[in-house]
C-alpha cells in the first residue's frame, strides 16, 4: 500500500501538520505575555516611556499570533474527531476532563488578552498590568492541562483495558501519569526559550543595524532574561525525561539511540565515538544496567527511525543553547551587557530560530517516538483513524491554507518589526 492510500498515515500527516503549525503560536501565546508584563511592570515602577513603548509593540505582534493560534487550536479540537474518531470514542471520557480545564484556561486567556490589547485607555494601569499577568498565568495553565493529555497518551493510567475497551475509568487517576511532570516542565520551558530567543534575535539584529539602541537594548535584555534561564534548565529536565522514557517506553529509547541489541553496559553513540556503558548510566544511573534494544520488540512495535535525527537535532541545539546561556550568565556577572560585543549580537541572531527547531524536533521525538501507539501499549494509531473518504484532498487543502497563513504572518510581522527599526516610535494604543 502506498502512502496516499493508507488512511491512517494521511490522518497522522494532517494531525502532525495541524499540531506543528499550532504549537508555534501556542508557545508564543505562553511566552509573549511574560515579556509584555515585564516591560509594563518596569514602566509602572520607573516611568520610563521606553518600557511602555515596548509593551505596546510586543502586544501588537502578539495580537496577530494569538488570533492564528486560537483558530488553529479550534481546528485541532475538531480534528480529534474528524481524524481519529476511534481514539476519541474510547479515550474521550478520560482525557475530556483535562481538556475541559484547558477550555477554561483558554477562556481566561482570551478574555484578559482582549482586555489587555484593547483596554489601554479604558482601565487603570494597575488593572491593565493585572490583565497581562492573567494572560501569562492562564496561557501557562492551558499548556499544563493540554500536556497532561499528551503525558497520559505516553504513559496511560486510570483505567483497565479489556475487550478493546477502556473500563473502570478513573479520570482523576489519569492525572497520575508518570510523564506529567517532565513533559509539562520541558514543554513550558521550551515555549519560553524558543519565543524569548526568537524575540531576542530580532532586537539583536536591530542593534547590529544601529537602530533605536535604547529601545532595542531594553527589549533584548528582557527577552534574554526570559529565554536564557529556560535554556540553562532545559538539559536537566531533558535528562529526567530520558530516564522516564527508559523506564516506561523502552522501545522509544531504543529508537532514539538506534540501539539494535539488548545489552548491559550499553554504549552512548556521540558522532563517531562510542562511550561504553554511558547509555546505561544515562538511562538507569548504573553502568551495568540492561538496556533493551530494538530487537526486543516486534518490527510492528518499533517507532519509525525518523526519531533518531530529530532527537540528535534537539539534543545538539539544547546543548548549544545551554552553553550560550552559561556564557551569557558569566558575562552578566562580570557586568558586561550583551550589546557590548557585536559577536554576541551576531550569535543571538544566528541562534534565534534554533529554539523553535528544537521545539518541533522535540515534539517529533515525543509523538513519532510513541508510534505505533496512540495510547502507549494500549491502542494502536492505525486502528483509530477515520474510515471517511477524501482524506488526501482535505490534507492538501489544509496544507495549502497553512502555507498561505504562515507566509502572511511572516509578512505582517516583518512589516511590524520594520516599523520599530525607526528611532521615533509613535505613542498610543496598540
Amino acid at each position: 500500500m502506498d502512502a496516499f492510500s493508507d488512511p491512517a498515515l494521511i490522518a497522522r500527516a494532517q494531525m502532525a501538520l495541524s499540531l506543528s503549525f499550532h504549537i508555534v503560536f501556542a508557545s508564543v501565546g505562553i511566552a509573549m505575555p511574560v515579556l509584555m508584563v515585564i516591560a509594563e511592570a518596569r514602566w509602572l515602577r520607573t516611568g520610563d516611556k521606553t518600557d511602555l513603548d515596548l509593551a505596546h509593540r510586543w502586544a501588537k505582534g502578539t495580537a496577530v499570533l494569538f488570533a492564528i493560534g486560537a483558530v488553529s487550536g479550534t481546528v485541532l479540537s475538531f480534528e480529534l474527531g474528524l481524524l481519529f474518531p476511534g481514539f476519541m470514542r474510547l479515550a474521550g471520557p478520560i482525557i475530556g476532563f483535562p481538556f475541559s480545564l484547558e477550555g477554561f484556561a483558554f477562556f481566561i486567556e482570551a478574555i484578559f488578552l482582549g482586555i489587555y490589547l484593547y483596554g489601554w485607555n479604558r482601565i487603570t494601569p494597575k488593572q491593565h498590568l493585572f490583565s497581562g499577568i492573567m494572560v501569562a498565568l492562564s496561557g501557562l495553565a492551558s499548556a499544563v492541562f493540554v500536556t497532561f493529555v499528551n503525558a497520559w497518551m505516553n504513559a496511560p493510567r486510570g483505567f483497565t483495558f479489556a475487550d478493546g475497551k477502556l473500563l473502570n475509568i478513573d479520570p482523576l487517576g489519569a492525572f497520575q501519569t508518570p510523564f506529567a511532570f517532565h513533559e509539562i516542565v520541558h514543554g513550558s520551558l521550551a515555549a519560553y526559550a524558543a519565543t524569548g530567543l526568537a524575540v531576542a534575535g530580532i532586537h539583536a539584529w536591530a542593534l547590529l543595524l544601529g537602530r533605536a539602541p535604547h529601545f532595542h537594548q531594553r527589549a533584548l535584555s528582557i527577552a534574554l532574561w526570559v529565554a536564557l534561564p529556560a535554556c540553562l534548565l532545559q538539559p536537566l529536565v531533558g535528562h529526567l525525561a530520558g530516564q522516564r522514557i527508559a523506564e516506561h517506553q523502552p522501545a522509544k529509547l531504543a529508537a532514539l539511540e538506534q540501539l539494535q541489541h539488548t545489552q548491559t553496559r550499553a554504549p552512548l553513540t556521540v558522532g563517531p565515538f562510542e562511550i561504553p556503558g554511558a547509555l546505561s548510566v544515562m538511562a538507569f544511573n548504573d553502568p551495568d544496567a540492561r538496556v533493551q534494544g530494538l530487537d526486543a520488540f516486534a518490527p510492528a512495535d518499533r517507532p519509525p527511525s525518523l526519531v533518531r535525527p530529530a532527537f540528535l537535532i534537539m539534543v545538539s541545539i539544547g546543548t548549544l543553547l545551554a552553553l550560550f546561556a552559561a556564557g551569557m550568565a558569566w558575562r552578566h556577572f562580570r557586568r558586561r551587557p550583551p550589546w557590548g560585543d557585536r559577536r554576541i549580537l551576531w550569535a543571538t541572531v544566528l541562534m534565534s530560530p534554533l529554539g523553535f527547531v528544537a521545539l518541533q524536533t522535540g515534539w517529533i521525538v515525543t509523538e513519532v517516538g510513541r508510534q505505533p501507539w496512540v495510547v502507549y501499549g494500549v491502542l494502536r494509531t492505525a486502528d483509530m483513524a477515520t474510515p471517511s473518504p477524501g482524506l488526501g484532498i482535505r490534507l492538501g487543502i489544509f496544507a495549502l491554507i497553512y502555507l498561505v497563513l504562515a507566509a502572511t504572518v511572516v509578512a505582517v510581522l516583518r512589516r511590524h518589526i520594520r516599523a520599530t527599526f525607526t528611532p521615533n516610535l509613535p505613542e498610543g494604543r496598540a
Binding site: 486560537a70 479540537s77 474518531p85 471520557p93 475530556g96 480545564l101 477550555g103 481566561i108 479520570p171
Partner: protein, 334 residues
Amino acid sequence: MNLGWAELVAGIALLALAIYAVTGGADFGAGIWDRLAAGPRKQDQRDVIEKAIAPIWETNHVWLIFVVVLLFSAFPNAFATIGIALYAPLSLVLLGIVLRGAGFVFRQYGHGSVADRQRWGRTFGGASVLTPFFLGTALAAISSGSIRVDAADRVRTSVSAWLGWFPVTVGVFVMTAFGFVAAVYLCIEANDKPELQDDFRRRALVSGLVLGALSFAVRFTAEFANPVFARRLFGWQGTALMLQTGVAAVALATLFAVFRRRYRIARGLAVLQVVTIVAGWGYAQYPYVIAPDLLLATTAAPVATLRLIALGVGVGAILLIPSLIWMFRVFKTP
C-alpha cells in the same frame, strides 16, 4: 424526563451552544454585514463592525471549543459518529473558522497595501457567510435521522444527511439568525451616528422578517426529513406549542423594539429569542444525541467522568463569570 448526570452535562453543553450563538454567532453575523456592506456609509459600517468585535471575538469563539470538548468528554461515541458522518461540512466549518479569524486579524493589523487589506476583508466576510451555513447543515444532519450507527459502532450515512432540503434550509436559517442578532447589536454600537444606526436598523428588520419566513421553511422541510423530530419541535401540544408561541412572541417583540428604536430592549429580546430556539432544538432532540440510534443515556461517558466534568464546570464558572462580566463592562458600556 429522567434527570441524571448525562442530562445535566448535556444541558450545560446546550447552554454553551446557546451562548455561542448569541456571542460568537453574532461575530459571524457581523462578518456577514461586513461582506454585504453597501451604500454611502460602506466604510463606516465596516469600521463599526471591526471596533465592535475586535476585543471580544476570540473569547466568544471559545464557547464553540467548549461545546466540542463537552461533547467528546461526555458523549464520546456521539462525537466520534459526528466526526465520521459529518467530516465534509465540519471540515468546511473549520476552513471557514480559520479564514474568518485570519482574514479579520490580517486586515486589522496587516499594515499592508489597500488591496491587501481589501483581500483579507473579503476573506473575513466570505468566511463569515459560509461558516454559519455549514454549521447549520451539520446541526440539522444530527436531527435528520439519517446518521445511523449499528451495534458495532459502524456509521452509515449519505451526503443528503447534510446536503438535503432540510439541512440546507437550516443552514440558511442559522446564517440569517446570526446576521439578525448582529444587526440588532450593531444598532447599539453605532449609537453616536444616527444614519449608520439606521443602516443597521434596516438590516435588522429585513433579516428578522426573513428569519420568520425561514422558520416556516424549516418546519416544512423537517416534516419530510424526520417526522418524529418535527413533531417534537413543531407539534401543536404541550411543551412544543409553548416553545413555539414563546419564540414567535419574542421574535415579534424584538422586531417591534427595533422598529421603535428601543435598541437595548431589542438586544435583550434578540438574545432571548435565539436562546429559546436553541432550547427548543435541544428539547426536540431529547432523549437522543443523534436520532435514532444514539440515546443520551446510553452514549454518555461513565458517571465518574460526568460528575467530574460538572464539578469542573462549576469551579471554572467561579473564575469565568466575573471575568466575562468585567470584559463586557469594559468594552460594552457606553
